[in-house]
Each structure stands twice: as C-alpha cells, then as structure tokens.
C-alpha cells in the first residue's frame, strides 16, 4: 500500500495521524486561487518542486496530480516488493482513477487553448495522462485504465482491478486514485454551495459542507493462491457498483444507490450484515450526503455498526478518496482499531446516528468502505481480515 494525504506522506505517517486524531485541514496550501487562505483545505504542503525532487523527475513536464500519484504508487510497489519484471509483465494491470487529472493546471490550459504555441503540458490535461505517465515510467505492458465516476472513482478502480484478477485478465493489479486541489473543483463545489468555511463535521447536525483535499493512494492486489509467503494486509471480499439514478449532484432521500451498493457488496462477499464491524463512511459533511448515507445505513442495518468518516482528517480528496479510505479500512483491520471522527458534537436529528468519537481498540473482521459520487455513482467495498 502507498498513500499521501494532508495527514502524512506514507502509510506509517497516515496511520500515526489517524491514531492521534490529527486533522490535516488548514488554511495553508500551495494552491494559487482566490480561495487560498480564505477556505480550509486538506492540502499537501509540498510544492511541486519539492515533490519533483523527492521523486527525481526534475526537468520533466509533470502535473501535480501525476506527482502525487507517483508518490503513492512508488510506496505501494516498494511495499509489495514487486520486481521490475513483475511490474512490466503483461499480466500486471494498472487501474487508476482521477477526476481532476491535468486540470490542476487551469491557467496553463486556458493559455494553451487560446494560443498557437503549446506549452510543455499540452498533452497532460486529461485524466489519462496520470496513468500514461506511470505506464511509461515503469514500462508496463498489461491492461492500463483510468476511471472517472466522480467521487467514487477510485473505489471503482479497486473493484475493476479485482474483477480483472477474478476473470483471469490479470495476475496482479496496481489500483488506486489521485486528485490534486484545482481551481476547477474548488469553484465547482463553491458554486454548488457545499464548501464549508469551517472544518467539515461529518454526520453532525450543524455540518456546513465539505472541505476539499488532495492526495493519492495505490494498493497492490494479488490472487490468494499467488501470494504464497508474501505479506498480506487484508482481503478484498466484497464490492458493488450501483446507481442512485436520481439527480446529477445530490442523492435521493431514501438513498437507493447507497443502499444498493452496500447491500450488493455484502452479497458478493457472502456476508451477513451483522458481520460488518466498522464502516468507513463516505461522510463528506454535506447536508445531503450525510443524511442520505445515514438513512441508507439505517435501512440496511437497522442498528448500524460503528462508523466514522476520515474526511474530517483529510478533507474530501474526490477521485483519491476511495483508495485512501481503502488503505485506512485496511489499517483498521491490521491494527484492530478504530480512528475517531473529528469535529462531531451533535447527531443529525432525523437519524440520530453517532460516529465513533474516540480512538478505540476493537476486534474487527470485516470493514465496509463507502464512496458515492456525483451522477449517483455509488460503490461500496468490503475488506476482511480473513477470507
């Protein structure tokens, strides 16, 4: 596994921050935007230059989104001790997700679109540029794909990767997602009036919206029989992609999509709902999401298991959030512990659900991770200690 977020530059640092209940959201950012300093963000405080130095990609035209992806990708393949021949093998796939891609360079894009002379970034504005950079740098020959289903993108990348293995189209997959802070998304979410000017407060009656964040995470998945004596953190046992089919930018009152994705994930895992020990909720801190997600959890579980949202630590990292939270869900399992939700004071009146508020040691076998996106794209994953 590899991860970089506002609460740390590695899995170990993220783990430490989660245990300490650290909030990475602040008014500090490297971003150039009118809202820098005005609104809180879950920013990674490395400049592009520092990231390039750390990753030895100096001189190349590489976007911040790609740099963050490379940072997490490198940690993941090192952690999994993949050899060069394993990475380049035709049965090793790379499935990455992003919603911003090269659109972090909005001013450059605007200039390039309005002049005859291309900047060095002209080929880097789309979403695929991130994974095409990784493919080229690591000379990968297997299936390479980029998925964009808004905020559920990297949960779908993980699911797609797992299905490639299950269908015999890959032996191992490197799956994940990335997004960097961009004027495009900041202004988009601001126009929708769902950016909070305070720290986000997932599942709180007084919540005022989300904080955008940035980050990346990658995971290496292999088939159980190929693992042999390698280190195994967890099993991906369940997944389901389902559509709310209600509205382009909000979820239906009853949470049809979230309900169906959680239920479907239980079915693919062959688990009873009582077996879920913890839910890493989507929990963005918006009025709509948190109430609908609560409603869907109540519908499915009657008495929902322990749950919390780590977006109160990292902000909402959009296309990266599913992968980052997959890493966090796996940390729940590896260390048998639950990390506290931050900034929570009072439950939503209509649902009354209270997230876990203190660091807790707990025996957990199965963790569910939810990701719901614009357009109603809902995906739930289930990670397990044993399979």
């Amino acid at each position: 596994m590899g991860v970089i977020s506002a609460i740390g530059n590695s899995v170990a640092e993220n783990h430490m921050s989660l245990m300490q209940g650290k909030c990475g959201i602040s008014h500090e950012t490297t971003l150039s935007s009118k809202y820098a300093g005005l609104l809180p963000f879950g920013a990674i405080l490395f400049s592009d230059k520092t990231l390039k130095d750390r990753l030895s990609v100096n001189g190349q035209p590489v976007t911040r989104t790609t740099l963050l992806a490379l940072h997490a990708f490198k940690e993941a393949i090192d952690d999994a001790q993949l050899t060069a021949s394993e990475i380049t093998a035709t049965d090793t796939a790379l499935i990455g997700a992003t919603t911003v891609g090269g659109m972090c360079l909005m001013d450059e894009l605007y200039r390039d679109a309005n002049s005859d002379k291309a900047s060095v970034y002209a080929a880097s504005y789309d979403c695929a540029s991130v994974n095409m950079f990784l493919q080229k740098r690591y000379q990968m020959n297997g299936i390479v794909n980029t998925i964009n289903t808004a905020c559920s993108s990297s949960a779908n990348a993980i699911m797609y990767g797992a299905r490639l293995i299950r269908n015999g189209l890959a032996k191992r997959v490197i799956v994940g997602g990335v997004d960097s802070l961009s004027k495009f998304t900041i202004n988009g979410f601001n126009a929708l009036h769902i950016l909070s000017d305070e720290y986000c407060r997932p599942f709180d009656q007084q919540r005022k919206g989300l904080n955008l964040g940035e980050g990346a995470a990658f995971l290496v998945l292999e088939k159980e029989e190929d693992v042999k004596d390698k280190k195994v953190y967890a099993y991906l046992c369940g997944y389901c992609n389902s559509t709310d089919a209600f509205h382009p930018s909000s979820l239906s009152e009853n949470g049809e999509g979230p309900y169906a994705s959680m239920k479907g994930a239980l079915e693919t895992a062959g688990l009873e709902k009582e077996q879920i020990g913890f839910i890493n909720a989507h929990g963005t801190g918006t009025e709509n999401n948190d109430e609908v997600e609560s409603t869907a959890m109540l519908r499915l579980f009657a008495r929902p298991p322990a749950f919390a949202s780590t977006k109160s630590n990292t902000g909402h990292t959009l296309g990266a959030s599913g992968a980052i939270e997959a890493v966090y869900s796996i940390l729940n399992l590896v260390h048998q512990e639950i990390y506290p939700a931050l900034h929570f004071t009072e439950p939503i009146i209509s649902t009354g659900l209270v997230p876990v508020q203190a660091y807790t040691k707990k025996e957990i076998t199965h963790v569910m991770s939810n990701s719901f996106g614009f357009g109603g794209n809902c995906t739930s994953l289930i990670f397990s200690k044993t399979c």
Binding site: N131, N187, S249, N377
Partner: protein, 348 residues
C-alpha cells in the same frame, strides 16, 4: 466475448437512423463535425441543459433502447466527457476571476455525466461506470462488459463510446501537433504526406449480451497495449491473430484506424503487411476523423458493412478475394501510443 444486438451511431456521416456509409461528407478546415439529428423523445428542457457529448450519447442510447430494452447497466468510454461544458466553466472561472459562478456547467462537465444521465433517464440502479483512458476508453469499456457478461451471463448491457471536438481541445491538440497544419480534406487524408491527422467526433452505442440468436455480430476478442515501438505492435498483432482466430478461419477484412499522419504511415503499412495477401484492407478515419473513442465508430461500422456487396470505394485500400465479409480485424492506434485489436465476427 459477447454479441451485439442493437447499435446506433452519430458521426460526421449520415449514420444516425440511415446507416449511409456510401456517401462521404467532407470535413471543414481539418475537422469532421458530427451531423446532429433532430433529437426526439427527450424530456422537455433536458436537451437545452446538455452539452454536445451528452446529446450524442443520449441520442444514440435512446435509439438503441427504443424497443423498451432494459439493460442491466451502462458502460461508457469517453476521453473528454463534457468538453464544451468544462470549457464554459473554465472560462467563467478565469474571466470572472473565480467570483460566484453558476454550477450548471460544472455538473455537466464531469466525465460521468453521460452514463449517469442514462441511468437517471431509465431509472436504472444497476452497474454504471465511465472509463476515461484517452485512446483506450472504449476498449476498457469493452473489457468491462466482457467481464460483466461472464459474471452475469443472463444480463444485457449498454456499451458506448462518446467524444466531442470543441474549439479548446482542438486548439490544444493542434498546438501539440496532433492535426495537420495545412488544410486537408478528409477525402485526401491518405494521399497527403504530412504530419498530423484531422479531428473528429462521434458517439456509438451498442446493446450487447450472450444471446447468439438475431445478433448482428459477435465481438470475439480484444487486446490493448501502450507502446511507441512498432516491433512490439507487430508482435502483439501476430500473437493476437494466432490466439484468437479460430483454426480454418480467415480474416476477410482488415479495418485500420490509419489517421493519415506521416509519422504513423510505416506502422500502418507494416501491420497491413501482416495479413494475408487476399485480405481486403479498408480504413475509417476519413469518415469519423481522429478522436479518442473512434474505435467505437469502427465497431459500429463492422456491424453495418454491406453483405454480398462491395465496400464503399472510399474505404478501400486494397480489395481482397472475399466479398462476403465475416471476420473483421480492427486495428486502432491513438496518437501513436495507445493500440487496440478487436476481432469481430459478423452474422451473415
């Protein structure tokens, strides 16, 4: 992999409802713009809120689903999604200096707008995904559907590829050297020795499942790779044919995504040299232009090619022995780096 039952295509040619591939409409200033039909059956007001990519996607999807077909999921490949809407929003941000903006364009600009609108308009809660891997966005959608139909053999799915050309992506790609500098008609695309291609756009949608009865074609196999090494492409093509073409069968038509870019001429001619001497060789990018999901247009073309009649003259690069085209090998290449092979078996 699976069978194609219904299909629909909006392209720079008169393909929508008419399937006219004989008449070749000309490009204007190195761009082949789609011929948009008068859309019918959309909810009132919906059309006005949609960008071109959404309109084309919805228009072709509604056509495919017109017999009240209820697919179990929507799988869409699009490199750029709502390009026009992205640009509109980007312009607002820059020109109004990030002041309070209207969110409509932002919501419509997300790549998954097409697939999710399809889910909404059909009230479908099933699998819904958008693949955005540039020149292999449609191919990854095909891989996805292939897996879905193994996992759920009774299901049917709507599969599509959609991309639009707007002034912004044209300008950026032009500046990056993707398109020809001199004005070149699509009718002369393969006769001009210069770098770059001509731009295009389009939408193609397919209703697919595992049912052989009444199918128009079977998509038998697919392979994708990333490389700028010609030898590697040739190796992949050789092994793809060896592995996927059933014994005793021949490739009747080699349909290539030759983009008229002199930098790729040797690549395409080397690939053409690999097929049998009596295989017909034809091309399609002079009809649709170069765009990331042009392979969806090629697959649609493989479904509608005439039976017992010669191919349109404008497509032919070399006329082969077999007039009854059963097995079609489609080779596409996007910007010299993203390659795909599709083997299509037509019902005759």
């Amino acid at each position: 992999m699976f069978y194609i039952h219904q299909y629909s295509c909006i392209s720079p040619q008169e393909t929508f409802l008419k399937n006219d591939i004989e008449t070749l409409h000309a490009s204007t200033e190195n761009i082949l713009h789609v011929i948009e039909p008068a859309y019918t059956g959309f909810p009132p007001g919906a059309l006005r809120r949609m960008g071109k990519a959404s309109r084309m996607g919805m228009g072709t999807a509604m056509q495919v689903l017109q017999n009240n077909a209820k697919p179990d999921g929507f799988i869409v490949g699009t490199a750029n999604g709502g390009m026009e809407e992205s640009i509109r929003f980007l312009k607002q941000i820059i020109e109004y200096n990030e002041d309070t903006l209207a969110p409509g364009s932002f919501v419509q600009s997300t790549a998954n707008a097409i697939a999710s609108q399809l889910g909404m308009s059909t009230q479908n809660h099933g699998y819904n995904i958008t693949h955005v891997h540039k020149g292999l966005s449609f191919e990854n959608s095909v891989i996805d559907v292939g897996m879905l139909l193994k996992e759920n053999p009774e299901h049917s799915y709507l599969l599509g590829g959609v991309d639009e050309i707007a002034s912004y992506n044209y300008n950026i790609e032009y500046a990056a050297g993707c398109y020809k500098k001199e004005i070149t008609s699509n009718k002369e695309l393969y006769n001009v020795n210069s770098s770059g291609s001509i731009a295009g756009e389009g939408a193609a949608m397919f209703l697919v499942n595992n049912t052989v009865e009444n199918a128009s074609a079977k998509l038998c196999a697919l392979a994708t790779l990333h490389t700028d090494d010609k030898r590697m492409v040739l190796d992949w093509m050789r092994s793809f044919i060896e592995k996927e073409l059933p014994a005793g069968e021949t490739i009747d038509l080699f349909l290539t995504g030759d983009d008229g870019d002199s930098r790729h001429a040797e690549l395409f001619s080397s690939c053409e040299a690999l097929v049998n001497i009596d295989t017909t060789i034809a091309r399609f990018k002079h009809m649709c232009g170069e765009y990331p999901t042009a392979s969806a247009f090629a697959l649609w073309l493989a479904c509608v090619l005439p039976v017992n009649k010669p191919l349109p003259q404008h497509m032919l690069s070399r006329k082969g022995a077999e007039q009854n085209i059963k097995n079609v090998l489609i080779y596409n290449c996007h910007q010299g780096v993203q390659h795909s092979f599709m083997l299509v078996c037509r019902a005759l």
